[in-house]
C-alpha cells in the first residue's frame, strides 16, 4: 500500500485504509477499506479537507522514495549487528516479507 | 505568617515587578513573575504558590478567565488572590465577576501590602470550612447550598462509597484517604464539566454531596460512576479484580468476603412540594440510598415521588 496526497489520487485507485473524518477522527470513517475511488468521491473528500489517503499497490512514483532493493538493503543494514542471532533472523524475514508486500 | 511564602506576581509593569520582587524577597519570600497571564495557570497547577498578586494596571484583560479558573477548582480556590488597582480602574471592575480576595490601590505602601497578604491568608482559613483531606467545602457550606436550591430545578445528590470501611481497615488509612481524595476529584471534575455551575461538598468520611441541574443529574451520575469504576479497579491486584472480592475481617472480627469499592448515589430533585426544608432532603436521600445499596455494582437512584 502507499500513502499519497489527495491531489495525486485518481479514479480506480483502491483504498487500503479507511479515511477518517479530519473534523472528527474518533467518529465513524468517511470511507471504508477496499472502496474504489471515483472522481466524484475524490471531489467530495477534497471539500471535506482530507489531505492524504492510503491506497493499494504502489501507483505513484514519488521523488526520493527508496526502491525495493534500497529498502531491503537498508533493512539488512539495520540488522547488521544481529545477523547470526536465530530469533532475529526470523524477525528480519518477517520484515522482508512486509516490505515486499508493501511495494506491490 | 509563614516565613517563606511563594508568591506569584502577574504584572505588565516591569519596573513595579522588579521593585516589588526586591521587597518581597527581602522579607524572605520567593517571587515568580509573569508578564502575561498565558503561562500562569499551567504554573499554578504544577507548582501552586501560596499567594497570587495580579496587577490590573496597564492590562487589556480583566483576568476574568484566569481568576475564575483558579477559584472554581477546589484545590486551588483557597489560594488568596490580591489585586493591584489604580484610582481609574476602580469603576471599571465588576466585582461580581472578579472573585478576588482583596485589593490594594496603587501606589501602595509595602507594609500595607504585607498586612493585606497576611490578612487574606487568615481570612480564607477562617471563612472556608473545607475538608482538610479533600479541600471540598464542608457541612456549613453544604447546608447553605442545599437551602438555596429548595424549589429550584436542581438535584441534590448524596453519594457514598460501598465497602469503604472494610477497605480502610484492611489496607490502612493512607490507602483509604487516597480513595477519598480520588472520589472528591472525580465528583468535582464531573460537576465542573457540565459547565453550568453546580456544587460539590464533602460531609465527612466517605459521604459526599453534589448539586447539579435536574437535566444534568443522570449524566453526571453516570460519569462519576464510570470514572470511579476505572480508577477503583486500579486499586486492587489483578487477582482480586478478577474474582471481584477479597477476604478480610469485618467489624465483629469474622472473616468475610468483601466486594470491591462501588458507589451509591441518591438523587433528590428539589422542585417538588414534598421538599420544604433541609432536613427533608437528607431523609429522602437516606431512604433512596438504602435501596441503591442493595446492589453489588455502583447505582444511582432518583426520587420520583411527587409528594
Amino acid at each position: 500500500m502507499q500513502k499519497i496526497p489527495l491531489a495525486l489520487a485518481f479514479e480506480g485507485m483502491i483504498l487500503a485504509q479507511e479515511i477518517k473524518n479530519p473534523d472528527n477522527p474518533e467518529g465513524p470513517p468517511l470511507c471504508g477499506k477496499g472502496v474504489v475511488l471515483s472522481s466524484s468521491l475524490i471531489e467530495r473528500l477534497n471539500k471535506i479537507g482530507v489531505q492524504s489517503i492510503t491506497v493499494e499497490g504502489h501507483p505513484v512514483k514519488i521523488e526520493g522514495e527508496k526502491t525495493l532493493d534500497e529498502e531491503l538493503s537498508s533493512l539488512d543494514y539495520r540488522f547488521r549487528k544481529v545477523k547470526d542471532d536465530p530469533s532475529m533472523k526470523i524477525l528480519r524475514e518477517i520484515y522482508r516479507v512486509q516490505i515486499i508486500k508493501a511495494k506491490n | 505568617m509563614k516565613n517563606n511564602l511563594r508568591i506569584a506576581l502577574i504584572s505588565k509593569d516591569c519596573e513595579l515587578s522588579s521593585q516589588l520582587s526586591i521587597h518581597i524577597e527581602s522579607k524572605g519570600h520567593q517571587v515568580i513573575v509573569f508578564n502575561n497571564e498565558s503561562l500562569v495557570l499551567g504554573y499554578i497547577y504544577s507548582d501552586p504558590s501560596d499567594i497570587i498578586i495580579i496587577n490590573f494596571q496597564f492590562s487589556e484583560t480583566n483576568f476574568h478567565g484566569l481568576i475564575s479558573e483558579i477559584k472554581k477548582d477546589c484545590y486551588f480556590g483557597t489560594i488568596p488572590i490580591i489585586g493591584l488597582i489604580d484610582e481609574n480602574t476602580h469603576n471599571n471592575i465588576e466585582w461580581k465577576d472578579c472573585p478576588i480576595d482583596d485589593f490594594i490601590t496603587l501606589p501602595f505602601k509595602y507594609n500595607e501590602l504585607f498586612s493585606r497578604i497576611s490578612l487574606a491568608k487568615n481570612r480564607i482559613q477562617r471563612i472556608f470550612d473545607n475538608n482538610p483531606l479533600t479541600k471540598l467545602p464542608g457541612n456549613t457550606s453544604i447546608q447553605k447550598a442545599i437551602e438555596n436550591t429548595i424549589g429550584a430545578p436542581m438535584s441534590v445528590c448524596y453519594l457514598d462509597i460501598n465497602n469503604f470501611k472494610p477497605y480502610n481497615d484492611t489496607f490502612g488509612f493512607t490507602r483509604g484517604d487516597e480513595v477519598i481524595r480520588m472520589t472528591a476529584r472525580i465528583i468535582s471534575n464531573a460537576v465542573r464539566q457540565t459547565g453550568d455551575g453546580g456544587f460539590a461538598g464533602h460531609i465527612g468520611g466517605d459521604d459526599f454531596v453534589f448539586i447539579v441541574k435536574n437535566e444534568s443529574a443522570e449524566f453526571v451520575c453516570k460519569t462519576i460512576i464510570n470514572n470511579f469504576n476505572i480508577i477503583a479497579s486500579d486499586l486492587f491486584e489483578e487477582e482480586v479484580k478478577h474474582k471481584g472480592f477479597y477476604i478480610a475481617k469485618d467489624r465483629q472480627g469474622n472473616e468475610n468476603k468483601i466486594y470491591l469499592l462501588t458507589l451509591a448515589i441518591a438523587v433528590v430533585p428539589m422542585n417538588t412540594p414534598q421538599i420544604n426544608h433541609y432536613g427533608k432532603v437528607a431523609e429522602i436521600a437516606a431512604e433512596l440510598k438504602k435501596y441503591a445499596k442493595k446492589f453489588t455494582e455502583s447505582k444511582y437512584v432518583i426520587n420520583r415521588r411527587k409528594r
Binding site: I94 | R185, I231
Partner: protein, 287 residues
C-alpha cells in the same frame, strides 16, 4: 567519570519541565477554543507526546494531590485532574523554537514505540494495555534529557556512534559513564512516577534486571526493537538490537505471533506517520 554521572544526576534533580513540539501544543490550543471539544481527543493528543505525558503524570502523582504515585495512565490522570487542568498544563508548555531532526526523530520513535507496545499488549492479551503503551512512550525519556539538557554531550554521542558504529547505549556508557535507562529512571523518580512505569524505563535494555513488572518491561523492550526494525523515527542510532531471551520467554513468543504483531504494528505505524506529518506541518505554519 563519576563527576559526569553526578553532574547528570544534579541536572535531572533540577529539571522541572521539558519543551515539546509546537504542533502538538497548537493542536491542543485549537481544541481548547472549542469548549465542547472531546476529552478523548485531548487524551489522544497528549498520549502521543512523551514530554507532555510525562508532565501530566508528574502533576497527578505530585504529593500536592495525595494520590501517592499511583496514577500510570493519561486517561486516569484526566479523570482525576479534570480537563481544565490538563488543558492549561498543556497550553503552558514550553515549545522548541526550531524543529530539529533529532528532536522530531526521538518524538516519532517514542510515539511509534507506544503504538507498537499497544499492539503487542492487545495481541498477547496482556492486562493493562494502556499502562504498557504509556511505559513505551516514556521509555527513552532519558534520551530527551540528554538531548535537551546536555546538548553538547548529545552531539558528541552522535559522532561517537557514527565513528565507531556502536549503539547509542554503548556510546553513552563509554562517554557518560551511565545510560539513558538510568537517566530516565532518575527523572521518573524525581517526578514521582509510579513503579509500574519506572521499571520498564530502567530495564528496557536489560529485561533480566526487572523484578516486579517483567511482562511490561519485556513488552516495552520488544516495542523498542520493532520501531527500530521498521525504521520509524530516529532514536540516536540505526542498529536493531537483539530480542533478549528473557523477553522472548516472558512474552511466550513464536514466529507466527511475531508475524501477526509486526503486521498489525506496520499497519498502525502508517497512521502514526500521517499523524506525525500533520504535527510537523502544523508546527511549521505557526512559525
Amino acid at each position: 567519570m563519576g563527576n559526569k554521572v553526578n553532574e547528570i544526576k544534579r541536572i535531572v534533580q533540577d529539571t522541572k519541565s521539558l519543551p515539546t513540539l509546537p504542533g502538538i501544543v497548537l493542536k491542543i490550543s485549537k481544541l481548547a477554543e472549542d469548549d465542547k471539544s472531546s476529552v478523548n481527543e485531548i487524551a489522544r493528543l497528549i498520549s502521543s507526546d512523551h514530554i507532555l505525558s510525562a508532565k501530566v503524570l508528574k502533576l497527578v502523582n505530585s504529593p500536592f494531590y495525595g494520590f501517592s504515585g499511583r496514577v500510570s495512565t493519561i486517561s486516569n490522570a484526566l479523570i482525576l485532574l479534570g480537563v481544565n487542568v490538563i488543558r492549561s498544563l498543556a497550553l503552558s508548555s514550553s515549545i522548541f523554537e526550531i524543529m530539529e531532526k533529532s528532536v522530531v526523530g526521538l518524538w516519532e520513535h517514542s510515539f511509534g514505540a507506544a503504538v507498537a507496545a499497544n499492539t503487542i499488549a492487545k495481541i498477547l492479551q496482556l492486562p493493562d494495555a494502556e499502562e504498557i503503551s504509556t511505559a513505551a512512550l516514556l521509555h527513552d525519556i532519558g534520551k530527551a534529557i540528554i538531548k535537551i539538557k546536555l546538548e553538547e554531550d548529545y552531539n558528541q554521542l552522535i559522532s561517537i556512534i557514527k565513528e565507531k558504529d556502536i549503539s547509542m547505549i554503548d556510546a553513552e556508557h563509554e562517554f557518560l559513564g551511565t545510560g539513558h535507562p538510568e537517566i530516565g529512571e532518575w527523572i521518573a523518580r524525581t517526578w514521582f512516577l509510579p513503579e509500574k512505569l519506572i521499571e520498564p524505563i530502567a530495564c528496557h535494555h536489560n529485561v533480566k534486571k526487572s523484578v516486579i513488572h517483567k511482562t511490561k518491561t519485556a513488552a516495552v523492550h520488544l516495542a523498542d526493537i520493532l520501531v527500530k526494525a521498521s525504521d520509524f523515527g530516529f532514536s540516536g542510532d540505526d542498529i536493531v538490537p537483539r530480542i533478549q531471551t528473557e523477553a522472548w520467554d516472558k512474552l511466550d513468543l513464536n514466529e507466527k505471533i511475531l508475524e501477526e504483531i509486526v503486521q498489525e504494528t506496520e499497519d498502525r505505524l502508517i497512521e502514526a506517520k500521517n499523524f506525525s506529518l500533520e504535527i510537523q506541518t502544523s508546527g511549521e505554519k505557526q512559525s
